[in-house]
């Protein structure tokens, strides 16, 4: 099977967000594979191991993204592709990314494309379905189980806590929800092998795309941090009195009850 994974490099979840000149300051921040994309990579590897074929991990990013792609290779992916937009795209959005990915994928005859259901930084969840729409293939989002039998696919999907069992077929794009699997850690031999695995780097030119073709359709006009929360009140005294006071405060001061 010809399997592709869409991967994004994101801020580590524990990073503190600092603004610098109206932008998120990335200096010194730790970057990781978007956690939902790790589920996608793991699932791709399991599908390959069960059905044969090849897993290619693709990312639209900059040269720093090579590190996360190497990690994906160390987990067991066969190939990686970096579409480096550093010189061509200044302010891309989800349209931009989806358009580039779809342009890359359109002649690849992918059987299965996997991605995370959302990235923890921008958190739009748009790119996967947009790519599927551009490639004109079906998609299922927030999946927690994937079973493949020939070209028939049964997918379990998380819908706000309920589960839907969906019958569909390859070619298909799915986006991973937590619970799909337990992503493996790269092994030491895996890390050694990853250094020799192919990692292709492309630019828009290589996809016959012009900057105008991928121009964003939204614009960020301001980024700001939420107002710092004042320290809350920890109540004191007899427990019964604390509870009474809390209910009183919620009713008269916070007015939420």
């Amino acid at each position: 099977m010809n399997i592709y994974v869409l991967m994004k490099r994101t801020f580590d979840t524990e990073e503190k967000i600092v603004l610098n000149g109206g932008k998120i300051n990335e200096d010194g921040a730790e970057f990781i594979i978007n956690p939902y994309d790790e589920y996608a990579i793991e699932e791709a590897l399991q599908v390959r191991d069960a059905n044969g074929g090849e897993v290619t991990v693709i990312s639209v990013g900059n040269e720093e993204t090579e590190k996360q792609l190497r990690t994906a290779l160390a987990m067991g992916a066969d190939k990686a592709v970096l579409i480096n937009t550093e010189d061509d795209v200044e302010n891309g959005d989800q349209f931009t990314t989806a358009k580039i990915l779809a342009e890359y994928l359109k002649n690849k005859e992918a059987d299965l494309i996997l991605g995370g259901n959302v990235a923890i930084d921008g958190a739009t969840g748009q790119v996967g379905p947009r790519v599927a729409e551009l490639l004109n293939i079906p998609y299922v989002t927030t999946i927690t189980k994937l079973e493949i039998d020939g070209t028939n696919v049964t997918v379990t999907r998380d819908v706000e806590g309920d589960s839907e069992v969906i019958a569909t077929s390859l070619p298909l794009l799915v986006t991973a929800q937590q619970g799909l699997n337990e992503p493996r850690y790269p092994s030491l031999p895996g890390i050694m092998k990853a250094k020799k695995k192919p990692l292709d780097e492309l630019e828009l030119d290589d996809l016959d795309l012009e900057e105008d073709d991928v121009e964003a359709k939204t614009k960020t006009i301001e980024i700001y941090l939420p107002p710092k929360k004042e320290a809350g009140r920890v109540l004191t005294g007899d427990l019964n009195d604390q509870v009474k006071e809390l209910v009183h405060l919620l009713h008269t001061e916070a007015k939420v009850i």
Binding site: P129, R130, S163, Y224, K229, L235
Partner: protein, 325 residues
């Protein structure tokens, strides 16, 4: 400049979800005096049209078909695209629900349009329709505009105030016939787990339990409190990992994001991944035995104590309040 804006109304168990009314309020702002048209897609949904009008839609277009009994992206996309083709709107709003998240990028992809997902506010500023949305799990916010295509957004439940309901308001409910073609992905079975009681993502009150709840039975006092307050029960990842409850209740970076009026965290330490799912709640109460627990840093009110003592006392006290008011 006034413009026409469509709103997809979303039904669950035969009634409209609150987020649909919130989406109408957002659409009113975007329309700047123009027409707001409700859209209903389903098997037998036209009876819900009047309620969209009561909440501010000027009229409603309904697409009904046997094949639309359950949501599928193929079926609903065909229906909604047909309405868009007929109405030629300048704006479109959906709830940022499971359905909205799944469907909106496809519509945006087809129309080659911008899309602003998970908006928590919308305003007219400097001649633009400006949306606010959380990024980095609510650790920062961005203001965004659409520069090409429809003014298209999904709105996060519980953040935009719906317009007051006017039961006397009337508007046309018309139907559009759409031939729903092949569905490439069909639902074979739905396993319901989460939906006893109030929907977590739309609840005004959430009572949430962490590892301190200690067992599946330990959730009982939380459920009782939730019932008294008309709220929903949630959980931290720790409680889910320990098998005290189903993952469908999980709130956090992985899991649901909730912004209720009142969030009561019981026996939750307050790991950053949990805070990502609830820190934008309007009022946060923390109940924890450990006075150093991180959750107290984001709480508006805190009680240091054993949740198994505090929660039942709270339930009794709220019951008294309900009787008095």
């Amino acid at each position: 400049m006034s413009r026409k804006v469509l709103v997809l109304g979303e039904a669950r168990d035969g009634s409209l979800r609150n987020v649909s009314f919130e989406a109408i309020a957002a659409a009113k702002t975007i329309a700047e005096g123009g027409e707001v048209v409700g859209v209903l897609v389903g098997k037998a949904v036209s009876a819900l049209g009047a309620e969209l009008v009561h909440y501010g839609a000027d009229r409603v277009v309904v697409v009904e078909d046997e094949k639309l009994t359950q949501y599928t992206s193929d079926g609903f996309a065909q229906a909604l695209l047909a309405v868009i083709d007929q109405e030629k709107p300048a704006g479109l709003v959906l709830g940022h629900t499971s359905l909205g998240k799944d469907l909106s990028p496809r519509i945006a992809g087809r129309l080659s349009s911008g899309l602003i997902s998970d908006a928590t506010a919308v305003e007219v500023a400097g001649g633009n329709i400006v949306f606010t949305r959380p990024i980095y799990s609510g650790k920062a916010f961005e203001k965004k505009i659409v520069t090409d295509g429809l003014i298209f957004a999904t709105v996060r439940p519980n953040n935009i105030t719906p317009l007051a309901k006017e039961e006397s308001k009337t508007g046309e409910v018309s139907s559009l016939s759409v031939e729903i073609k092949d569905l490439r992905a069909v639902i074979k079975e739905v396993v319901r787990k989460a939906t006893e009681g109030v929907d977590l993502s739309e609840a005004k009150v959430v009572i949430s339990g962490g590892r301190g709840v200690k067992s599946e039975e330990g959730f009982a006092p939380l459920k009782e409190l939730a019932q008294v307050l008309g709220g929903a029960v949630g959980a931290s990842r720790g409680a889910c990992d320990a098998d005290y409850c189903d993952y469908s209740l999980q709130i956090g970076q992985t899991g649901k994001v909730v912004t209720p009026d009142l969030y009561i965290a019981c026996g939750i330490s307050g790991a950053i991944q949990h805070l990502a799912g609830m820190s934008n709640s309007k009022v946060i109460v923390a109940i924890n035995k450990d006075p150093e627990a991180n959750i107290f840093k984001v709480a508006d009110y805190g009680i240091v104590g054993d949740l198994f003592e505090v929660v039942p006392l709270l339930t009794e006290e709220f019951k008294k309040l309900k009787v008095h008011s």
